[in-house]
Amino acid sequence: MGNPADENKGVALLKRIAAKDRKAFEEFYYLYAEGFGRFLMKMLKRREWVDEAVNDVMLTIWQSAGRYDPERGRLSTWLFGIAHNKGVKTLERYGRHREESLDDIPDDIASDIETGREIFESNVSTTSGPEKTVMGWELGDALGWAFERLSPDHQTVIELCFSEDFSYQEIADIMDCPINTVKTRLFHARKKLSEMLARKGYTLSEQGAISQ
């Protein structure tokens, strides 16, 4: 989503959307919606909530296309900022708040997340050995379990840094918070992940490998 060619194309489409060009709006949807839709899916977990949030993001783009200024940052940063904002509003609308961890959320949502966790755990390979692929897969399961137990803000900052490749300044712009807050959140998120991995029996060896 963030490559320069896409970026230039996106900026050109935005100019046409600002002039109320429906065709450009559709092109923009197919070019970018999957990227921030995937991000929203990790944040919201439910398809119908993601449909609603993507809807809100696209309407905001329609209404404020003329206000995007390339001098102020990348298009992807602007889009993810809108998406994050709509994601937070959706969570609030359905009773989940950004600082809550898994233990605080309503039962029906918690059960969905637990189902996800069970899917991860049922896929755990019984093969043990030094192969990195096997260890990576098991670690992935454990990480998935631990990740789900982070608060939405911690999940978001981990996601934006490790999956989406944004810099700390861009993450600050997306989450609309100071840079130090981004660094602090990521520090605490990593610390929590380590603690939860340790609970699952994963420790870091001196050689840097993670073993159970």
């Binding site: 109320k20 559709e26 839709g37 309407l59 990480l143 700390y168 990593r190």
Partner: protein
């Protein structure tokens, strides 16, 4: 390396492994890693985390049906905005005072317009007349309403002789003024508590005016002072 430096570098590690640091930050992290095992371990953890980031159970993909819903919402928004714009444009603008006066005049019959014009001028004239005398009065001194025969506040330098004169009680002001002006005499002071006046002769020769004053039937006393 201080604790603050360590914390600073530790917090930058995720972006270090992503290559998202500035050259200066990258060098700082590399120098620190050479001597800090904790941070080296953290680099490994973050690398593993990047590789093993959990994938959501469901994926989300755009679809024609979903976009159709969005477009329908856009059309509703645009339609509401257009109706709102139309209402705003067709609303009559608030009239200014001048515009309202013009309309009233236009609605008034011809003869009545002239009557109203004259009446307005008459009222304006009365206001001017009422204000003007006040302006004159305001600009004069505290005793501006009184006019005296002499002006004790502004004594002039005397060139002639000063004569003290006492007139009879029945001497009228007009008669007194006439006597003085016929003989070139200037009133300089008076009347005092005793009814005495001081007059000035036009020249240093006071004999003739003195004789005229003494001969007048209503002059009780005439005496040269200087």
């Amino acid at each position: 390396m201080t604790t603050n430096d360590h914390d600073e570098v530790f917090s930058l590690i995720p972006w270090y492994i992503k290559g998202k640091l500035t050259a200066w930050e990258h060098d700082k992290v590399e120098r620190h890693l050479a001597s800090c095992e904790i941070c080296r371990n953290e680099v490994v953890i973050c690398q593993e985390l990047t590789k093993a980031m959990p994938k959501p159970a469901e994926t989300w993909k755009p679809s024609a049906a979903h976009f159709a819903g969005i477009l329908a919402e856009v059309e509703r928004l645009e339609s509401s905005a257009a109706i709102h714009r139309e209402k705003t444009l067709s609303r009559p603008k608030a009239k200014g005072l001048f515009q309202r006066i013009k309309e009233i005049i236009a609605a008034t019959p011809g003869p009545m317009r002239w009557t109203l014009a004259f009446e307005t001028l008459a009222i304006a004239g009365l206001v001017v007349i009422a204000i003007l005398p006040l302006q004159f009065q305001v600009n004069r001194g505290p005793d501006a309403g009184f006019e005296t025969l002499s002006n004790a506040d502004k004594p002039e330098v005397t060139k002639g002789k000063l004569i003290k004169v006492v007139f009879a009680d029945d001497m009228a002001t007009k008669e007194l003024s006439g006597l003085l002006s016929q003989n070139g005499l200037q009133l300089r002071d008076g009347p005092s508590a005793m009814g005495a006046y001081v007059v000035e002769t036009p020249s240093t020769d006071a004999e003739k005016p003195l004789a005229i004053l003494k001969a007048h039937p209503k002059v009780r006393l005439a005496l040269v002072l200087n």
